[in-house]
């Protein structure tokens, strides 16, 4: 007669906490790169710097921020989440991890 009782699900597996640190380090590197580029005032390089900054702000920072949030959600959950949600969050984390860590800005060339 125990069949007519409540539901109890297994606890979810935790996401790798190292992901958050890695993603935050990547974000920090890109933010420092923006600062560095903002301090270049040479008329010859300034337009390119502005372009680089725009691309980092629009195409890299949001993805990294979302990846960090996704990794934190996966670490913070006390209840199992639907498979689809976990897949979406893992995908966001992976998209962040797949971005280039700042290594001189070569990959940011237009």
């Amino acid at each position: 007669m125990d069949a007519l009782t409540s539901v109890a699900g297994p606890r979810p597996a935790r996401e790798n906490p190292g992901d958050v640190e890695r993603l935050e380090a990547m974000l920090d590197g890109h933010l420092r790169m923006i600062q560095y580029l903002q301090n270049i005032h040479d008329a010859q390089f300034a337009p390119y710097c502005k372009l680089f900054i725009e691309r980092i702000e629009k195409e890299i920072i949001p993805i990294l921020e979302e990846a960090i949030v996704a990794a934190k959600i996966l670490m913070a959950m006390d209840q199992p989440l639907p498979k689809m949600t976990v897949q979406n969050l893992n995908k966001r984390v992976q998209e962040g991890l797949d971005l280039p860590a700042y290594e001189g800005g070569g990959l940011l060339d237009p």
Binding site: M1, A3, L4, T5, S6, V7, G9, P62, E65, E66, I68, V69, A70, K72, I73, A76, M77, D78, Q79, P80, L81, P82, M84, T85, N88, L89, R92
Partner: protein, 256 residues
């Protein structure tokens, strides 16, 4: 067989048939409740019931009806036999009816003997049309009847429905385990078990979506102000909301 022994055997058989009839009634009620719950889950998903569900229910009800009608025929003939025994115990009709009941008398006697043994589940009963195996009768008159009581409350949430479906899975599987291989009820019960499992999974998914939404709200509050959190949370909540279906409002019998 002396007349007294025969009358005693008739009495034993009559009791067995009465119990059997009663338990077929319980089984019918359990099947009705099962049907209501399964159709409610289908209705919530705004889907047509699976093509296989209604024929399976018909098959199950058909087997119960067929077995019950045979049982009622046994009862009618037993009444006739007992009547004949009181007026013309040596008559030709008694011989004919005795022939008709030979398997039933033997099965009832066997079952009574098996039930007196220490481990009755280790013995195989004779399969006779219109008679439920004694283990099935024991289950239906005990736990099965208690299950009926559990199913009387109204269902207002997916959590309630999950508990009900677990209850249905329990009685189907327990009843199935009491049936010898090849019993007419075995196959439709197995099909109903599979149909119930599929609905149970759908109901579990709905409970998971509801809980996940609450969980995302909780984590979202603890991360408010974190850059990017609005975008992630709103999208995931939107996706979850798209998968959730509200629990159908139950329609009371007799009301529209």
């Amino acid at each position: 067989m002396t007349l007294e022994t025969l009358i005693e055997a008739c009495g034993l058989l009559n009791d067995t048939l009465e119990r059997g009839e009663h338990q077929f009634g319980h089984l019918c009620r359990l099947v009705e409740l099962l049907e209501t719950d399964l159709l409610m889950v289908d209705q919530a998903g705004e889907k047509e019931p699976e093509a296989v569900l209604l024929p399976t229910l018909e098959l199950l009800r058909g087997v119960i009806q067929q077995q019950t009608s045979v049982l009622l025929e046994h009862k009618a003939r037993l009444k006739q036999l007992m009547g004949e025994l009181s007026v013309r115990p040596e008559g030709a009709l008694v011989d004919a009816l005795m022939l008709y009941f030979s398997r039933l008398f033997a099965a009832t006697k066997d079952t009574a003997w098996i039930e007196q043994q220490e481990e009755p589940e280790h013995y195989t009963e004779r399969l006779v049309d219109g008679m439920l195996p004694s283990q099935s009768i024991r289950f239906l008159s005990g736990e099965g009847q208690l299950m009926l009581g559990k199913f009387t409350g109204s269902t207002t949430s997916w959590l309630d429905m999950k508990a009900r479906l677990e209850g249905h899975q329990y009685w189907i599987s327990e009843l199935f385990s009491t049936l010898p291989p090849g019993h007419g009820l075995a196959q439709p019960l197995l099909l109903m078990m599979q149909a119930t499992e599929r609905r149970s999974q759908r109901v579990e998914d709905q409970i998971l979506y509801q809980r996940a939404l609450v969980e995302l709200e909780r984590i979202g509050e603890s991360m408010s102000g974190v850059r990017g959190s609005d975008r992630v949370f709103s999208l995931e909540k939107l996706r979850l909301n798209g998968l959730m279906v509200s629990f159908p409002e139950s329609i009371m019998e007799g009301c529209e």
